[in-house]
């Protein structure tokens, strides 16, 4: 083309390159995020993960030294994992609800990080009918 190239193209090309550069920089420093797993995928994992599932049983007190103890089940499936948790418990936490919590698996028990328990956003939550 005889027409002189618009500097806009240069700007766009440079910015795309800059964005990609920043992106690579970020992912190389911070890693690719936390794996989020269900109880069935947890076996043998030792790293820090987000565990999501349905609460089946709960006992204890998140404020006591023994912590809140509950069992998480796969959304579809039967594998269960016991969880021990300390800190703030969301209002929505209840048996039968879907929650996510961060932590690591130690000797078959998922030891949760303090104050990381979250329930699904209430605006889209509809209780399963019995």
């Amino acid at each position: 083309m005889a027409r002189k190239r618009s500097p806009a193209r240069l700007v766009i090309a440079l910015s795309v390159a800059a964005v990609l550069g920043v992106f690579l920089l970020y992912t190389s420093i911070a890693g690719g995020g936390t794996p989020s797993l269900q109880p069935g995928q947890l076996k043998g994992r030792t790293g820090h993960v987000t565990l999501g599932g349905v609460v089946v049983r709960q006992a204890g007190d998140a404020r006591s030294s023994g912590g809140l103890r509950f069992t998480l089940k796969d959304r579809k499936g039967s594998t269960v994992v016991p969880v021990v948790y300390h800190g703030t418990v969301p209002d929505m936490f209840r048996e039968g609800r879907e929650v996510a919590v961060q932590g690591t698996l130690r000797d078959g028990i998922f030891v949760a990080q303090r104050d990381t328990l979250v329930t699904k956003c209430p605006s889209k939550y509809v209780d399963k009918k019995n």
Partner: protein
């Protein structure tokens, strides 16, 4: 009653399908009367959808528990306001609200533009009809609000955390925004289909875009305020997919609002504007889907949700269809002029656009990251706050800076000399403010300090621009300073309304930076009479009280707040228990210092033995976030206010072309 509702929705579906199919045929074959009947079908569809909505609202108010929707989302003891707001508390009702707003907006947009942009409206009608058909189809066949069941004695109730005035206003506001973005999209597609790719589609939809964008912005702030007072963690935004769902189309629409000005003034960026309006619309559909189904934790939940596959198909169809259309019309979208210099108003708009889109797409990348990683590696990986915070700083801080540069720089080509002269005052003020902040100890957070210095720069340049304009106007026409000032705004509503919105964004930035970068948090178990320190406050726990309420009971902990040894206030954070919903709701207490804008947030908790735990947060400048909302609305209203002079100017500019088109 439910049968009538279903029938009304089936009728709506038939009407919007007719508008889509007959409208398209009429536009293609140039059948004027058929095109008019398609437009009338769109108007009638609003009527039938309104009837269906009225029936659902009546069923809610009558506590008719033979409606599954009513039984699932309300209970007899629920206050009337929340009974009505349960309309948009669930998936089916909110889809109905979507369709109601969409048919209402479609009818209004078609009606208002039927004379000024006839050739566009002919093609816009089928596009609007097609979008409405999708939602009407979902309501009729997949997710009906009029499903019935044997009546139960009482309903399941509304989730207690949704029983909050902000949650009554937040969803409809967001929906006005989401749906409003359909109008500029439909006109853009109408322009491409009819090959009328001049600026008229932009002019016809400018106020629609602005209104939708304002609603989306206000809706998000209402949601943030709800999270702040109700969810009880002392925050207002957590980069949750549902929150990002509203932020992404807002960012795309912000970019669009800026870049259309370049097309209007200089005839550039035509393809880019098309892409932006497509992006904003697709993201608003995606956002509706996210908030309604809660996907993205996994591909599996995507396919499990009853409406998931339909939405995925619809989003793919509109993305592919509209991009193909843009591609096929590329020769018509050639720019009239070129960017002359990288130091010009146009160029700063271009940088602003690139940054906004980059921010929007990185957020989108974060939201869909679990889906991508699951598809590739078999297990989903999520990114969290650090990811988003990082990119908000990387793209957001330059954006803030550009907001101060853009308005002061000349169109076409600016000289470095003129630029350095213009920026002497604002840059000087920013420098002084930055040094002052370092002296005041704000250096503890570098991003916070940078944000504040940039904010000072932007505010200084906005004030400078107002002063410069007022002075010029007064020199021109004389009179008082106030008269010159109001006439300056009155004659350039769009421009100065825009600057007021900029000021609101600066306030927002100051509030966000302040409350994040400089907050203090303490958490402690308190026995009766025991005290704790947080920031400059001393908190003394004076025991808890229990009271019965219509929906259950409430417990309140009395906490006396002292500052500098002086008693200031008794705060009563606690918990509400809802019997019907079998749930607790944390009721945090907030003390806002109106003078300094500092908030003291108390988040209470009780263990099983009744011991009281208190998490106390001191957040400086949080107030500015809510004040920013008011300023934002004010600026938008100034920019939106009808301007007879502007209308005449536009009518003259496009009159000859329209006469040609109609001939």
């Amino acid at each position: 009653m439910a049968g009538l509702g279903r029938a009304a929705l089936v009728l709506s579906l038939a009407l919007v399908l007719y508008a889509a199919l007959a409208g398209a045929y009429a536009a293609w074959r140039r059948r004027r009367r058929l095109a008019l009947s398609a437009q009338n079908a769109l108007l009638a569809a609003f009527g039938t959808t309104l009837l269906a909505s009225g029936l659902l609202a009546a069923a809610l108010l009558r506590h008719d528990f033979s409606f599954t929707y009513v039984a699932d989302h309300t209970a007899r003891a629920l206050p009337t306001m929340y009974t009505l707001s349960a309309f948009w508390g669930g998936q089916e009702g909110s889809l109905l609200l979507w369709l109601l707003i969409l048919t209402g907006f479609s009818a209004a947009a078609v009606w208002l533009n039927r004379r000024s942009a006839t050739d566009l409206v002919v093609w816009t009608t089928p596009v609007l009809g097609a979008v409405a058909s999708f939602f009407a189809f979902l309501l009729v066949a997949v997710s009906s609000p009029f499903a019935t069941q044997p009546a139960v004695a009482d309903g399941a109730g509304l989730n207690p955390s949704l029983q909050n005035p902000y949650m009554v206003a937040h969803p409809p506001m967001l929906y006005l925004g989401y749906v409003g973005l359909t109008v500029p999209f439909a006109f853009a597609m109408g322009a491409l289909l009819s090959r009328q790719t001049d600026e008229r589609w932009i002019i016809a939809t400018r106020r629609w875009t602005l209104t939708a964008w304002t609603c989306l912005g206000i809706g998000q702030l209402l949601g943030a305020h709800w999270a702040y007072v109700e969810v009880g963690w002392g925050g207002y935004f957590a980069w949750d997919p549902v929150e990002n769902a509203a932020l992404m189309p807002w960012l795309a629409a912000t970019a669009f609002l800026h870049s259309v000005m370049i097309q209007e003034k200089r005839g550039m960026l035509k393809v880019w504007n098309m892409l932006l309006v497509i992006l904003a619309f697709c993201l608003s559909i995606f956002g509706t889907f996210l908030t309604r189904s809660g996907v993205v934790s996994s591909i599996h939940s995507f396919t499990q949700s009853s409406i998931g596959p339909w939405f995925a198909g619809f989003i793919s169809a509109i993305t592919i269809g509209s991009l193909a259309l843009v591609f096929s019309r590329l020769p018509l979208l050639r720019a009239k002029t070129r960017l002359e210099s990288l130091l010009s108003r146009e160029a700063t708009f271009l940088y602003n656009n690139l940054l906004l889109v980059a921010l929007c797409l990185t957020i989108l990348w974060g939201v869909v990251w679990p889906l991508i990683t699951e598809a590739i590696r078999g297990e989903p990986t999520t990114v969290a706050k650090p990811y988003y915070d990082f990119f908000l700083r990387v793209f957001g801080l330059p954006l803030l800076l550009l907001m101060g540069i853009g308005p002061l720089i000349a169109w076409r080509r600016a000289s470095w000399r003129a630029v350095s002269q213009t920026f002497l005052v604002p840059a000087g003020i920013a420098l002084v403010a930055g040094l002052g902040l370092v002296a005041a100890g704000a250096g503890s957070s570098i991003p916070g300090l940078v944000a504040y210095t940039f904010s000072a720069f932007v505010l200084a340049s906005i004030v400078y621009e107002f002063v410069r304009g007022t002075r010029a106007r007064r020199a021109l026409s004389g009179g008082s300073w106030l008269g010159a000032f109001t006439s300056l705004i009155g004659r350039n509503r769009r421009r100065y309304g825009g600057y007021v919105v900029h000021a609101a964004i600066v306030l927002l930035a100051i509030g966000i930076a302040g409350s994040n970068a400089y907050q203090t948090v303490r958490e402690q178990r308190l026995a009766v009479g025991q005290s704790m320190q947080v920031g400059a406050y001393t908190l003394v726990y004076r025991g808890s009280e229990r009271k019965t309420t219509p929906q259950g009971f409430e417990v309140r902990g009395n906490v006396d707040v002292y500052r500098g040894g002086q008693f200031v206030q008794r705060l009563r954070p606690g918990k509400n228990h809802y019997v019907r919903e079998q749930q607790d709701s944390t009721e945090m207490a907030i003390r806002s210092d109106k003078l300094t804008g500092e908030d003291l947030d108390l988040v209470p908790d009780y263990d099983k033995s009744g011991n009281f735990y208190l998490k106390a947060l001191v957040k400086p400048l949080v107030n500015l976030i809510w004040i920013a909302g008011i300023v934002f609305l004010l600026g938008s209203l100034i920019a939106l206010w009808p301007d007879a002079r502007e209308q005449r100017r536009l009518a003259e500019r496009y009159a000859p072309r329209r006469a040609l088109a109609e001939a």
